[in-house]
């Protein structure tokens, strides 16, 4: 009983509380690669705190869409954050269906793009156009990479996938790896990382995500930044628990839960390291080369599904 409560508290709070740390760790590692000292790994928390206490300027062209988009975007990441397997695979959740996750994340994308258009700035509008183009093309790869795991485990519920998956299916190993490869591409696109987008600049040539939130300030900017950090962590958690559900708690014991938490932490750290290395070693792609990458993700996943029998 206590364990179930602990797990639910982790489900509710882990993603929003840990996500700024992930951003901090990635930035720190990147700074070390660039021979810089870098800011503390807790700097994103300070940034959010500072933004939450600042005053705001809102464009007079903006409507209530601009006003409410940050809440909707942030909430969609919270809802998804609590509907994906984190440390335990045995709890049941009505929202844990793969399509529900994907489409709830789409709610966030939808309102983010609308908010980008709402202020009537050219930056925001083109950011929205690029974001929606990428999101539309990433959808196929996203659904199919999760579908590969769903077909292997004969369920589309993410908790059940992470539960079944602890038995290493050697016969499905190739499919799992291909699906994971496709998933990584989609992850980079959806979370606006290299080579799709540069999360560190406001230069208009590279901007997708940053362009849409250009007009935000104060609390609303904090929510937007926080939501994108949440989204990154959600993808890390999906990647670690669907494709490598090693260590995730299968029975309600404290020992299993402890291992589950430790395994999740290690896997997420590995993801942070991988992202930092990737961002330090590749350049951003030209916009019209990105569809090739996303189609590769889709095709690789189709191959992965066909290989299952």
């Amino acid at each position: 009983m206590i364990i179930t409560i602990v797990i639910w508290i982790i489900q509710l709070l882990f993603v929003p509380l840990a996500s700024p740390l992930c951003i901090g760790i990635i930035r720190k590692i990147k700074a070390r690669f660039q021979n810089r000292q870098g800011a503390s790994v807790f700097q994103p928390y300070f940034d959010l705190w500072k933004l939450l206490h600042k005053d705001e300027v809102i464009s007079k062209d903006a409507s209530w869409i601009f006003e409410f988009a940050p809440y909707i975007v942030f909430t969609s990441t919270l809802v998804v954050g609590m509907s994906i397997p984190l440390v335990a695979g045995f709890i049941n959740n009505n929202a844990g269906d793969m399509l529900v996750i994907i489409c709830t994340l789409s709610i966030g994308t939808f309102f983010l793009a609308l908010a980008g258009i709402d202020t009537g700035s050219g930056f925001g509008g083109f950011g929205a156009s690029r974001e929606m183009t990428m999101a539309a093309l990433a959808e196929g790869g996203f659904i199919f990479s999760l579908l590969t795991m769903a077909v292997i485990n004969n369920t589309t519920n993410l908790f059940m996938i992470s539960q079944h998956g602890t038995v290493v299916h050697s016969q499905f190993f190739l499919s799992t790896m291909l699906a994971f490869f496709g998933f990584i591409i989609v992850m980079l696109a959806e979370t606006a990382r290299f080579p799709f987008d540069n999360p560190a600049t406001h230069l208009e040539l590279t901007m997708i995500h940053e362009a849409m939130i250009l007009e935000y300030s104060g609390k609303k900017l904090a929510l937007m930044e926080w939501a994108s950090a949440n989204k990154l962590l959600i993808f890390f958690a999906l990647g670690s628990n669907l494709f490598f559900p090693v260590g995730i708690a299968q029975t309600p014991t404290f020992w299993g839960l402890g291992i589950g938490i430790a395994a999740l932490a290690i896997k997420i750290l590995l993801f942070c390291l991988a992202i930092a290395i990737l961002e330090s070693s590749v350049a951003k792609f030209r916009f019209f080369r990105l569809p090739d990458l996303l189609l590769i993700s889709f095709i690789v996943n189709v191959v992965a599904i066909i290989l299952i029998f």
Partner: protein, 683 residues
């Protein structure tokens, strides 16, 4: 106590209401306001009667058969057969026509003193009546009469706004295409008559075992093309993007929301009821057609900047999605998996209902925008959310529903369709699995592109700054249109939240068929609207998702607004403008928004750019007087399907023309030869 006789009387009553409404509209045509009130209130009454009739038929639980009049010809009778499938379509048609008629009370005022409202009322009633008769008739010839009534009435509604020559052209294209389709349907019915000796649908169904497979296959091809033309399946859809926008908006809503579904109804009726059991390749063909329609529909929608044409292309996309459900149902039933087939059919029916609600809402709200701004060009909109906040909200809700965002209804039916495709991928063997993978892939991309398209449609129309002078004179919708749009928006949400109960109801619809007589259901629904597919294959509950989402968002709003930094100052400023004055022309336009998608899909969409520069001095070519760029999209089905067809018909016609010499003797020779040939065949 519901009896068959009561139901018959209600049905006759609703038909006579339509007659009274139609005739009355013509009689009172001298006074615009009276005509409008008369025709719309009778349409409302008749639609309410239709809703009552459909609900009672569901409760009655058996199918209803009766004939009208004493016409006892061997092949023709005014006979009706109303089972749950018909009742479901009667319900959908009545629901949408009820809300469209409420909307029309406030909407048709801008036709006053311009066009004859009596004619509008007459054809409006004839149109709805035609649709109701199509889904309830059970005699092939009677069905064809109803089908023609529906087609012709809608043709006259398409050309109602007759001062615009493009509407006349659109109407003509519609007339030609729909009759080409009807011709094929007629051949299909005649083939069935030849082998069963009856035009009665029930008799055909009971004798279908006697029909040879080759004839069944030809009927299938003819029916898919014939009904597919009405439904707007690619490549038979060319009439749809031009005809739907031409009609008055409440008629567009009916055409897009329900009329194209009559084609789907007849496909279900012919394939699953009359010709069942079916070969596997039928279902696979429908899956392929559905994939192509959904993908191409949404791609062409993205290229459009005429708001009603954009919505019309989305109807093609959604018909594709319905076909994916129907195709999987046909495939499963032919492979001996009736439980899964029932799931696919339920998905198709649910999407039919959902598409009817959100698409009519989109057409009604877009229609209000177009009637206020006097243009359908999205490039001239912008910032409308400040002038018509309710219309904007309703359009937003419908956009979210059609883009399959939870917890709205569109998400649920796409989810069901995805489930039946996923189950196909999991269970079927290699060759059929490929088709299901293709279908699921196209549905996935369709969802993503539809999301992009509705960010464009809503964002460019309602957000940012106005891009033309007209915007400042626009007004919010009046009471009746707002009421009807509000009800539709509410339905979009409720159909999503109560998707569990609706799924259960729609399953009973499917169970009426012989094909699913004793089928164990693959879907179970629990009280909290949780829908479970198979044995833990997947389960969701949109009701709990909705409650969770609302709870968290209220919490987030409360904490950020009233707990953290309560004394925050919010000031208004201008958008970052780089030191210039921002005008409406500096925003992103509809063309600009979709340009990157068009460039990415240039293999299919074939975009063209034409630069025209006019110089002050054509010798030196330094100073340009004016520059213009024309962006175009090439229709591949036009250039690779219809134009070659057109050329072929022309070539043949020219050849045939040479026998028309004008010489009487030659004509007498032709008559003699025809006579000889005829005698040869007869004797």
């Amino acid at each position: 106590m519901i009896t068959a006789i009561t139901l018959q009387y209600i049905f006759l009553g609703l038909i006579s209401l339509f007659f009274v409404g139609a005739i009355g509209s013509l009689l009172f045509r001298k006074n615009d306001a009276v005509t409008s009130l008369w025709s719309n209130s009778f349409a409302i009454l008749a639609s309410l009667a239709g809703l009552l009739f459909a609900t009672l038929t569901y409760l009655y639980g058996h199918s209803l058969s009766f004939s009208l009049g004493a016409i006892a010809l061997p092949i023709f009778s005014l006979s009706f057969h109303i089972d749950k499938l018909s009742a479901f379509f009667i319900f959908t048609i009545s629901l949408i026509s009820l809300l469209c008629s409420i909307y029309a009370i406030g909407y048709v005022t801008h036709f006053y003193k311009k066009y004859d409202l009596g004619v509008l009322g007459f054809f409006y009633h004839a149109f709805i009546l035609g649709m109701l008769l199509v889904v309830s008739s059970s005699n092939g010839l009677f069905f064809l009469i109803a089908w023609e009534l529906m087609s012709l009435a809608s043709y006259f509604l398409v050309i109602y706004d007759r001062n615009d020559p493009s509407n006349i052209k659109a109407g003509f294209l519609y007339l030609v295409m729909t009759h080409a389709g009807t011709a094929l349907i007629l051949i299909a019915l005649l083939l069935l008559y030849k082998f069963t000796g009856s035009f009665d649908f029930e008799t055909i169904a009971s004798l279908s075992g006697a029909i040879p497979l080759s004839i069944k296959n030809s009927v299938f091809i003819l029916a898919v093309i014939g009904f597919g033309t009405k439904s707007g399946i690619v490549p038979f859809h060319i009439w749809l993007p031009s005809a739907h926008p031409a009609a008055p908006s409440h008629v567009s809503a009916l055409m897009s929301g329900v009329m194209i579904k009559t084609g789907i109804y007849m496909m279900i009726r012919v394939f699953l009821y009359m010709l069942w059991p079916v070969p596997t390749w039928w279902g696979l063909t429908i899956l392929v057609l559905g994939s192509i329609s959904s993908l191409l529909g949404v791609l062409y929608a993205l290229t459009e900047h005429d708001i009603k044409r954009l919505l019309a292309y989305h109807s093609i996309e959604n018909i594709g999605i319905i076909l994916l459900g129907l195709g999987s149902a046909l495939t499963f039933t032919s492979l001996g998996l009736p439980s899964l087939a029932l799931l696919g059919l339920t998905a198709a029916l649910f999407h039919t209902l959902n598409h009817a609600t959100f698409k009519s809402l989109l057409f009604l709200s877009a229609g209000w925008v177009a009637s206020q701004t006097h243009t359908k060009n999205m490039e001239e909109y912008g910032g409308l959310i400040k002038y018509m906040p309710y219309t904007a909200l309703f359009f937003l809700i419908a956009s979210m529903a059609i883009s399959a965002l939870p917890p709205f209804n569109g998400f649920f039916s796409e989810w069901l369709t995805f489930q039946s495709l996923f189950l196909g991928i999991t269970l079927l063997s290699l060759y059929t699995k490929w088709i299901f993978v293709l279908a699921a892939g196209s549905l996935a991309f369709t969802g993503g592109l539809a999301l992009a398209c509705f960010v464009k449609a809503f964002g460019i129309t309602f957000l940012a700054r106005p891009r033309s002078e007209e915007i400042a004179h626009t007004k919010e919708s009046s009471f009746f249109p707002r009421l009807s749009m509000g009800l539709l928006a509410l339905l979009c949400l409720l159909f999503g939240i109560f998707s569990g109960s609706l799924t259960w109801l729609l399953q009973t619809t499917g169970k009426d068929f012989v094909a699913f007589k004793n089928t164990a259901s693959f879907v179970s629904v629990s009280l909290n609207q949780q829908v479970l597919i198979g044995h833990n294959f997947s389960f969701i509950s949109l009701a709990s998702l909705f409650i969770l989402f609302m709870f968290i968002i209220l919490l987030v709003i409360y904490i950020t607004r009233f707990v953290i930094n309560k004394n925050q100052k919010i000031s208004m400023g201008t958008t970052w403008d780089c030191g210039t004055d921002l005008t409406g022309r500096m925003e992103i336009s509809a063309t600009g928004f979709s340009r990157s998608v068009i460039v990415i899909f240039k293999g299919i969409l074939r975009p063209s750019i034409q630069h025209n520069v006019e110089y002050h001095d054509s010798e030196s070519r330094y100073l340009a007087k004016s520059r213009s760029i024309t962006l175009g999209i090439k229709d591949i089905y036009q250039s690779y399907f219809y134009q070659p067809l057109h050329r072929a018909i022309n070539t043949v016609s020219v050849r045939i023309k040479s026998i028309q010499s004008g010489n009487i003797n030659a004509y007498i020779l032709y008559i003699f030869m025809a006579l000889v040939v005829a005698l040869f065949f007869v004797l």
